[in-house]
């Protein structure tokens, strides 16, 4: 299991940031995709916005964007349909052989 998955399992959403050039490497990896520098693992802001969404059965799923560049798909807990660019929060993340992200509207 990678560091990313380890931390996700503990409920923490982390990303890899290059120690040399500060690039955020996403999807996460151990080395920077720009300068091949070593990365450090740091928490991602839990506040983001909705890029696009749809719904399967009763569950809304969406692409959320954090820190203006990290885009990830997850389910969205909401009672009304969201709008594009609406703010959301990451309320749960986990790893059980597969990544899982759950968001809520702010």
């Amino acid at each position: 299991m990678t560091k990313f998955e380890d931390r996700l399992k503990e409920g923490e959403f982390v990303c890899s940031e290059c120690q040399k050039c500060k690039k955020l490497v996403w999807p996460p990896n151990d080395y920077c995709s720009r300068c091949f520098g070593k990365v450090k693992w740091r928490p991602v802001s839990r506040t983001g916005k909705i890029i696009e969404f749809s719904k399967k059965d009763d569950t809304v799923f969406c692409i959320a964007e954090f820190e203006n560049e990290i885009r990830v798909m997850g389910s969205l807990e909401c009672t009304i349909m969201p709008v594009i660019d609406q703010e959301l929060r990451l309320v749960k993340c986990s790893y059980n052989g597969n990544e899982e992200f759950v968001f809520q509207l702010k």
Binding site: K56, I63, V72
Partner: protein, 369 residues
């Protein structure tokens, strides 16, 4: 760079049959040889296999069971555009002078491991292709007013075209209403808006200008190639109502062939889902951005087969590693005037667009009679 032509092809029927990948490939190779009486195994100096199947040493296995001892043989895997990419590799071997005659064979089983990209953590728990296609669909609906009926029209058209393709998986038509009322997989994707994984194989024979003479009187020249990989992660697609990799690959292919979109008489485009065809006809330049919905509606209403005459992936089925090659087979037959009931009149220039993993990578080929 030497000229390279498509000189022959072979196909299997697309089915749900439980058959090994090498057996599938052999059937397409057998069909190719049976249609090319002047071809001998000794003529072939490249054998490339295209699949997502995990069988090891496959190109050597297929070479052995086909009685071929090639100079160059290997597999090409790139999820759904494995087929076009293997043809591009074969083209390169011939164009560079390393080889003269290349056999390219692609196949997939219905239970392919290539349907889901586990690596892509940015997809979270939504790794199945219906989720990325929902995002593309919703975005196109929002930006350009594409309707569920427009989407259903793509599927109705391609199922109808597939009726005249004896190798297609589907053998029946669906009305626009039936498609719109098929099972909602998500709010934006219905079951009949999806292509179906299946078992099938397709083979093509490429040859240098010198070698062509012995093989066929009706070569089809590959005059343009473009390929672009933006990323592997789906969420790197900055614009969801477009396929940036397709725009880039098409631009390269048009430039190389010295052609414009208006020159294309017939095209096979990668309709993994209905929305894909609508976006692709825009991004390949056949119609203004945002008007793909009107374009496919006109094709349907006028029974114009110029896009996906064999039924595309939706009508013919989608055996991943075979798809790009089957698309090339169709355009080859169209340009040779051998497409039977599917024949577009006076087709001289054709295009193939094959893409993979939520349009993170696209391949475009332009062919000419």
């Amino acid at each position: 760079m030497r000229k390279v032509a498509l000189t022959g092809s072979g196909l299997t029927k697309f089915t749900k049959e439980d058959i090994s990948i090498d057996s599938l490939m052999l059937l397409a190779v057998k069909s190719l040889f049976e249609s090319m009486p002047n071809l001998s195994q000794k003529d072939i100096d490249v054998v490339l296999t295209s699949t997502n199947d995990n069988t090891k040493y496959l190109s050597s296995i297929v070479s052995e069971i086909s009685g071929i001892a090639p100079k160059i043989s290997h597999s090409v895997e790139s999820l759904c555009n494995s087929g076009a990419n293997s043809a591009i590799s074969a083209f390169s071997y011939i164009a560079s002078g390393l080889a003269d005659i290349a056999l390219v064979v692609g196949a997939e089983r219905f239970d392919s491991p290539g349907l889901v990209l586990e690596w892509d953590k940015s997809r979270g728990q939504y790794k199945h292709p219906i989720y990325w296609s929902s995002m593309f669909t919703k975005s196109h609906i929002r930006k350009y007013g594409t309707s569920k009926e427009d989407l259903a029209i793509v599927s109705a058209k391609n199922h109808k075209n597939a009726l005249d393709n004896p190798y297609a998986y589907f053998e029946k038509t669906y009305s626009v209403d039936e498609i719109m009322n098929s099972k909602n997989l998500t709010d934006d994707v219905r079951l009949l808006d999806c292509s179906l994984p299946c078992s099938g194989s397709a083979a093509i024979l490429l040859a240098s200008e010198e070698a062509v003479k012995k093989l066929t009187d009706t070569p089809v020249w590959i005059t343009g190639i473009g390929q672009k990989t933006l990323s592997a992660g789906f969420t790197k697609n900055a614009e969801l109502a477009s396929m940036e990799s397709t725009i880039d690959a098409a631009s390269m292919a048009y430039k190389m062939a010295k052609k414009e979109p208006s020159h294309i008489d017939v095209a096979e485009v990668h309709d993994a889902f209905s929305i894909c065809e609508i976006i692709e006809v825009e991004d390949l330049g056949f119609i203004k951005k945002g008007k793909g919905n009107e374009f496919v509606r006109t094709l349907y209403e006028t029974q114009d087969r110029r896009i996906n005459p064999r039924g595309g992936l939706i009508g013919a089925g989608h055996p991943l590693g075979a798809t790009g090659i089957a698309q090339i087979v169709e355009i080859g037959q169209q340009l040779q005037g051998k497409a039977g009931k599917r024949q577009m009149s006076q087709a001289e220039v054709g295009l193939v667009q094959n893409m993979s993993a939520a349009a993170t990578s696209s391949s475009v080929l332009i062919l000419q009679s």
